[in-house]
Amino acid sequence: MTQTLLSINNLYKSHAAPNHNSAWWNLRKTSYISAINGLDISVKRGETLCVVGESGCGKSTLARLVMGLEKPDAGTISYQGEIISGLSDKARMPYRRRMQMVFQDPYTALNPRHTVLHALVDPLLYHQPNLHRQHAVDQAMAQLLAVGIEPALAQRFPHQLSGGQRQRVNIARALMVEPEFIVADEPLSALDVSIQAQILNLLAQLQSQQQLTYLIFSHNLAAVEHMADRVAVMYDGQVCEIASREQLFSQPQHPYTKALLAASPQIYTPPNKHHRLVGDVPNRIPLRHVQHGCSLQDRCPQAFETCRHQTPQLTPLTAQHAVACHHTQPPVSQGNSHDSEH
């Protein structure tokens, strides 16, 4: 249980900002916006790590970086001790079978021109051209059954399926190559409330059957509390708190975590107004104007002088619990705050 499967060290990634003036003579350079800002995280074999954060905090970018759909600017991602972040497409192939992804939007995650069966069988035949077709079809039908899709739906096109069915097909496709590690980017957010429970149960059931490791990105705290072993809270491209589920939900330390928990609607308890943040999620600013200090400083009601100058480091409180906040730790004396200098 304690073996580290995936570890991410000091990861940075920025994206080009949209350029509004795109006439044919305009060859001006684009500006950049940072998405991942010095992030450290690790996933242990067999666990479910949920990463919680609001839209724009860099969750999707992180998911894409882990899956090798984008390349990081700096820092490393390693899988079972091997660095996989800089690999070429070819060198990455062995890891493609071991790591798979479930996407947020079940409506666009399936090619509209392929039937369910085609979507499942095609990857197998693409990689193993010698595989007997009947064998691949049998495998696909078995996988569909495992995720609760009736065989009659195998010949349907995605637009003939409901959202929940499509998400099941997505999960089935990811499982076709028998991976051990699944990254899921907001697997529930596009689904109806009554369907979310079905997918949550399916994910849990598959995990226990196939010994899967999950890295799940979500903003739905209720679902996270239900399925996570450990929870990391992300804000502005950094992890601001990471703890086991029990600790995070019972003793949150970071002001942002507290605010998130307070804001998450509970059916029987009225919302808590004490942990509100002030102001808004800041608009993304181009890299030129690098902000000093804690990225939450403008919204945090408890921000003090140190927060304006030093970036807090992720510091362990207990073995299971680490927080990046000046309130829970003494300020670092030799200002080694790493403002991005690239």
Partner: protein
Amino acid sequence: MNAAQYHGHHIWRRFRRQQLWLQLKANKVALISSVILLLLTVTALLAPWLSPFDPADLQQQNIMDAELPPAWHEQGDSRFLLGTDGLGRDILSSLMHGIRTSLWVGFWAVLLQLTLGTALGLCAGYFGGWMDRLVMRLADFQLTFSSLMLAILVLAITRAAMGAHDYHVWSPWLLILVLGLADWPQYARTLRASVLAEKHKDYVAAAQVLGYRSRHIMVMQILPNTLSPLLVIATLQVAHVILAEAALSFLGIGMPYGNPSLGGMMGSGFEYMLSGLWWIALIPGVALVLLLLSINLVADWLRDALDPKNIGQQQ
């Protein structure tokens, strides 16, 4: 379930074809215009056998037959159903050969445009970066300048440089080449936009995660989802090319003089019109409008029929 059944895209193709047919039956205007287009195409293809005279054969021309009005006119001659032009040539025969020329130029130029535009648009959309910027800058530049203006400049200068006689040996090919090479931006822009939209959909990411190679994703996964708008543009462009060819021929820098083309017929008929002989210029004009209108109507219907919003409605 067995392996032979799983090939989804065949079923899809059949389904789609059926859809198109149903929608065509429901739309009377589109049905009539596609029938007209079909008739015109067949006439054009069979022109050498169907036409009563051969416009290129000087033996069949008689200056005594010149400027005869259509047959239903009291001064008309029953041999010349639509009358004759200033040199005594049968307008009906010239017309059939002219439509043949128009469709021929339209077909080859559009094929050239489609190939060039698709290749450039696909690369620009999929690879992005400097390639995208360069292709799109060029496309905007070319689009602003317009293919007709470029064709006028290039063809006029070539004609001035070669002299009218030499020029007419090369002009049909030059016409296709210029119109074919100049009008790629429409395709490239549309394709790039749809490739960009498709590229950010999760199924492309899923294909990458499953280890498909870029080229395979580009051609097998993305391209099939972007073909509908290209088909519509190509149909519209056939009309556009035919119109451009007619305009150039009208100006005297398109099809050679002896080679019958609708624009050329109208150009030479214009002078007669000032003396009241309307049919020499107007009959080819009506034929041209009929051809263009039927193509445009078919394209208009195709745009609606291939719109994914409408396809989802009927399952």
